[in-house]
Symmetry: C2
Subunit: 231 residues, 2 copies
Amino acid sequence: MISANKQLKNTHALDDDNTLSGRTTVALREAIVNGSIQAGEKLNEPKLAEQFSVSRGPLREAIRRLVSMGLVEHKPHVGASVVTLEPKKIAQLYELREALEGLAARLAASRMNHDEIAELRHLLEVHRQHCENNAGEYMQAEGDFDFHYQIIKGSGNPLLVHQLCDELYHLIRMIRFQTSRFKSRPKRALIEHEQLLFALENRDPELAELLMRRHISRAKHSIIEFLSTEE
Amino acid sequence: MISANKQLKNTHALDDDNTLSGRTTVALREAIVNGSIQAGEKLNEPKLAEQFSVSRGPLREAIRRLVSMGLVEHKPHVGASVVTLEPKKIAQLYELREALEGLAARLAASRMNHDEIAELRHLLEVHRQHCENNAGEYMQAEGDFDFHYQIIKGSGNPLLVHQLCDELYHLIRMIRFQTSRFKSRPKRALIEHEQLLFALENRDPELAELLMRRHISRAKHSIIEFLSTEE
DNA sequence: TCACCCCATATTGTTGACAATATTGATATC
DNA sequence: GATATCAATATTGTCAACAATATGGGGTGA
């Protein structure tokens, strides 16, 4: 979480929201993402409020924010529960991600400055080190997120950054946790990152978009295949 | 609003939310979209609560939901205010819309069934009638929305539908209201819709995506140009 | 045995009061 | 006259009690 959170701090309006509501949102979000609260589980307001040591007011606001992020579903007079990520929904999410990150990569190829691209290369090298040192799935995932975050931020479109980093990415993180027994092709991903970086360094928007879309499409197929063979 | 709202009812989780919070969200949203509450204006909780005849609780939840839709900005301990849509932000919004609706059109070309396509043709003809009868900018805008809604829903990706119809589209509607003195090229848009429908009827995903992206890109240029020549 | 209804219970929705924080305007000082 | 400080005010954040609605179980009747 270390490195990715540092990234998140720069984009998330939440992390400089020091109110109870803001902190509760982050806490509840992380509990859902890392599976402390399981997929499909009902969110009982009085219980959760006590767990987080807040009253129901801030907790309800937190739940509402997570609803808008797609992590939680809510029915009037019935209550909220954590979403369940069946393969169909995961495929839809990746469809969306492909379009949005494809756009991000295209824009980043034109708009990132030299320092940002240098930082990206640095991230890639650090990531490669981790993988070579067999540093485990955890660092692998974080390195991957950092790389994607940097490109998204490089798009120079705050609205796009918000949609991806603040909303969709927590769903992706949740999927990652739920499928973490599955080692997600670290070598191939690294090669694809390398190619992508090449396109960005050469200021080639079309190629950057193509490679990013392909990269995400492959990740999607890889996860879907894993899920279908599992049970 | 008539026809578009009917469409909205089918997608919006809000419209079957008969709680005070849900109704207040819709009311506040419309007040912002149609300019009753101006861009940049501060949202004073006690005042608004009284205006809508609710207490601050439901009103705060409504505000939070509009924040997540991008209609409102919020700073901790300071308050919420309506977003201001300067040209730069509008351009970013259209960048996003181009990618997302392009995706929607591509998916719709494969996934829409015959009835849905027939309905789309029907909408187009009604729209054409309105334009020929000089029925005014209002019906023009609504007809345009209906057409786009139908395609988005035809994408068969609920997550995409949500992102576009529940979140981004209210921002677009807000822009429409603010720039309504500007007659938005009704004839050309109609022709572009016609071409798009042709691609859908022929089950041509690539062409559908291309035409949709171009359609939105042109709308963007048209609005940006209008805004830059205005003041 | 099954289906239905009704009541007790649990849970969500809403409210008004209280606490914490920011804004402001007035005063004092340079 | 300009700037800084501080207090009064307004506004947001939080809480706990109350109201409205859904859930679940026991009982009744077919």
